[in-house]
Assembly symmetry: C3
Homo-oligomer: 157 residues x 3
């Protein structure tokens, strides 16, 4: 079985859509798809209710400034203080396209493996409880590389 | 024959230059190179005369705000309201480097396959007529994955 | 021996950290890792003392505006005129994580090959003397593709 592994580094709506489209497409074609969420990409996996809990001033500030969950992501272009994402969501609804939260659920249903990066969780003070139930496991760079080195398609998004 | 497939997601001049350099280089080394233009990357393929025609308010706004064609791309860094791209173009001319439009033509001449993403075209209201004649075909994620899963080098730019 | 090749296109601290983590991880797992620094990524390799020397007005301006060396990199998100990188560095120190300069040294020690892109050096007027001693060689897209086409894992960061 061919494998596809994506590092989801970015926490933006447009890049998340691209990543999920590719992963869901691969799974539906019979490939084993794995998404490794790291850095800003971890924001996509946060529960909407994830508060601003981590100890330490810098982590609190980071938590306050970062979007919590798939419904709150900015756009990488034309963000315009939130107008862009609002318009993009509206456009996607008009075309009956799923939003990022629905894509995450679809990915899980089609068998995509969702992994959260432990180094980022520790650095930014995000405990496992603040991440959604979609997370299959938390792992580091060694686990990513084991998967990637067996994959035909590797992407960094 | 070894294959290389690039997803061109970004619509910025510097990233387009990198993508074309790699694809043209691969083709000249005897590899089969495919470029799959999606999201903001589709702006690179627009005809300069592509107007603001799509029906619907949001699509009209998007069309008005996005660059039309390879001569109008911003930089990802130091854009400075257009000063950056102007300077970069000047610098490239001084070094007798081709600009993005010329690179697109060179890519075609060396046999690089140019594919436009149908999902993006539909979402953003870009009909095929607004894209340049360089486009070989319009296709979706399944066509991309078929190509990518046979490629030795896969990149997301 | 499995190979991993990364194009380091971005000159941002967060993306540099991701690139080095993956390359160092790969080397420590016995893979041959190569990092090809191009465009803004070349800023990571600059000596801190690299002045504003290149001839020509545009190159001088570019040199003045770009960060010199691994200690001066911005963040891709939440940069906030330098506050973000300052906070991130502090956070990394608290967690006893190495900074980008230390990661570059660690990468070299674990056998990661560091290549600087000649086309960028020429375009931006960066002579080899302004780059740190960590650079193994300066090479073009053909050398990159030779490496990439033998690599199991290819990433563009």
């Amino acid at each position: 079985m061919k494998k596809l592994t994506i590092v989801v580094f970015s926490g933006e709506m447009d890049r998340a859509i691209a990543a999920f489209n590719i992963a869901i497409g691969a799974a539906s074609m019979g490939m084993q798809a794995t998404m490794f969420f790291t850095f800003w990409g971890l924001n996509i996996l946060k529960r909407p209710s994830a508060g601003i809990s981590p100890p330490g001033f810098i982590k609190k500030m980071l938590a306050a400034m970062m979007p919590a969950g798939p419904q709150k992501l900015p756009l990488s272009k034309l963000n315009m203080f939130g107008m862009g994402p609002f318009m993009m969501k509206k456009l996607m609804k008009q075309h009956r396209m799923p939003d990022v939260g629905e894509m995450l659920a679809m990915a899980k249903q089609s068998g995509v493996k969702v992994i959260a990066c432990t180094a980022t969780m520790e650095l930014m003070g995000i405990p496992k409880e603040q991440l959604g139930q979609e997370v299959d496991s938390c792992a580091g760079v060694a686990a990513y590389l084991a998967e990637a080195s067996e994959s035909t398609v590797n992407l960094f998004i």
